[in-house]
Subunit: 361 residues, 2 copies
């Protein structure tokens, strides 16, 4: 069951939970902001659901609360940081900021981060670039959680990839994992007794299926676009590990610490007004988005949108009515804020009311 | 019916065809190389099949044989060129070369090309980067040929996206359009009387289908990964048009010249040995690829590979036994080489023997 909690209550409670976990005032402020924003924008799976999970990471020693990103190499428009297993969202925010600073100087900026931890919602850093007025591209590698195309066992990460367009009339932000569905999503559908809207993997006999439980049992989640998502996932992994001089997904698998601990992330920023003036670029974007959105919907009452376009409405509604959170997750956050430490991640067992995210984009 | 023709015969005949179309000796040499290489590597659809199609473009005035890319802006690690509707493959080759030169100086290099023409096989420029020892990323926008997710009429291009990893034991090269299947592929399956291996679009009643003819009739080709490919396609379009200060897909639709005439393309190159030494980066890549390839195949006799890995074997076989070409296409190329000018594109009506490209990656 989901409930709605006012933004200010969510933010202050989450911040208190982070303080109780041992984060500094500044760290707790930033982390609470990012987790709260993700849920505010409708991405509960990577927002409030991840607060108890993060507590677990800290308990397991996967995250070093005292670590800060360290510059370990630089050339021209590129910088390389060692994240020292610090807080993933803070490392990532820092690196996108650096990429933007480099782009101001060189037209394009690239920051390659190694040895970091889970960045939670990849889209956070794309939105960060967009809000600063820059085109952003970012991706991460992860441990293997998805079979390569043609395999029946996990062999590659789902390696999320993001693109941000700083359109003033609403940024366009793509945040796309290389699996058709997240494992968390399968659990949500299974617990709700529903089939996936489209096949999301193979059952143990190798048949394509929309049954979430059968996919959880086989571990054979489907790459997005079959062979395409599989190919893009391995290419992103190879690129990230070389660009950052860090771990590949295979290295992460061997270390087996879980949840992206020690992974690489890439942050690219590009000044969109290098060659065209701001007014004409913005007009071109508005025109392009309007043309896409004006195409005939495939069903009565349907409405075509570009990724990120509905976010403003989601934010506004959640700001007015309260942020949607699973009541069990909320109780865990309250427990954490009260100083309890025996909280376990239960996010994949939470039934969210909103199961239509595949229609949002 | 496909036949096999020796490499040297293909190259010299295609070069002669380009000379007859009015290309200079140097242009014909380069273009013949790229079209022949694409077929040599098994990508007939964008190799020899495109020679008659290119002849049609020239006849229609979509390509200016005398145009050369012109530098119209530069800042730091970025350059902006106007392609002046010159030969797409030559503009693209030039720009990836420039991106590599910029990467040598700045760690990363980005060339944003506007007002160019069809680059044929996107992977050509990724292979070019890989062969020069650089990580490459490139993409193009195109006119609308695919419905946005939730729409029943074309609203976005299939905007191919490429990533190249310069692994010495075989480059890993992703070349991925944002539609699950190309229209050309649908025609091939239909003419062979076969169903697609997976649903490739919707029929006119909005049902997901594997029937190629039903998708051709409805025009409702499926984005790769449903909403994901749709979102990535529009984001790539918006990014390319701003980065290059050129046309969006909506601009291309209004001008309605067809086949990417006037489009934007982005070329990124990155020096993979900026922060790690060559030996350790190559070893990490070999290890990562080996781990992926060693995962259990999903069927008896299957073998998992990363994108591009099978290319060396395809090249070797085609070099030894001759390049595969549809006999009607080959006759057209012979006609062009003999100076005939009334050749029309028939590539989508050609039944290629090899219909398993979705298994290649």
């Amino acid at each position: 069951m989901s409930i709605r909690i006012p933004y200010d209550t969510v933010f202050s409670t989450v911040k208190q939970a982070f303080l109780q976990m041992g984060l500094s005032e500044e760290q707790a402020q930033q982390c609470a902001g990012i987790h709260t924003e993700s849920s505010l924008e409708g991405i509960e799976s990577h927002g409030l659901n991840r607060v108890p999970r993060f507590a677990e990471y800290v308990q397991k020693g996967w995250v070093d609360l005292n670590a800060r990103p360290e510059l370990v190499g630089a050339k021209g428009a590129v910088e390389n940081y060692d994240g020292h297993l610090g807080i993933g969202v803070l490392n990532a925010t820092f690196c996108m900021d650096r990429a933007i600073a480099l782009a101001k100087e060189h037209g394009i900026g690239c920051v390659a981060l190694k040895n970091t931890t889970h960045w939670m919602r990849g889209g956070s850093y794309a939105w960060q670039a967009a809000q600063a007025g820059f085109i952003g591209i970012s991706w991460t590698n992860t441990e293997s959680c998805m079979p390569m195309w043609g395999s029946k066992e996990p062999g590659v990460g789902n390696n999320p990839f993001c693109i941000a367009i700083p359109r003033k009339n609403g940024p366009i932000v793509l945040d796309m994992a290389m699996s058709q569905y997240a494992y968390g999503k399968l659990g949500v559908y299974r617990l709700a007794g529903k089939q996936l809207p489209f096949p999301g993997g193979f059952d143990k006999d190798g048949n394509l299926t929309s049954d979430p439980g059968a996919i959880e049992a086989s571990g054979r989640i489907l790459p997005t676009g079959y062979w395409k998502g599989s190919g893009m996932a391995i290419a992103l992994d190879l690129a990230a590990a070389a660009m950052a001089n860090g771990r590949t997904g295979a290295d992460l698998d061997r270390e087996a610490r879980g949840s992206c601990t020690g992974c690489c992330q890439i942050f690219l920023a590009y000044d969109p007004y290098l060659f065209g003036d701001e007014e004409s670029i913005q007009a071109r974007w508005d025109d392009r988005v309007a043309a896409a959105d004006a195409t005939a919907p495939d069903r009565e009452g349907g409405h075509v949108t570009c990724p990120g376009e509905r976010t403003a409405a989601t934010r506004a509604r959640n700001m007015a009515e309260g942020i949607v959170v699973d009541e069990q997750i909320w109780q865990q956050i309250l427990d954490l804020a009260a100083g309890k430490t025996d909280v376990k991640d239960i996010s994949s067992a939470c039934v969210l009311d909103n199961m239509t995210e595949e229609k949002k984009q």
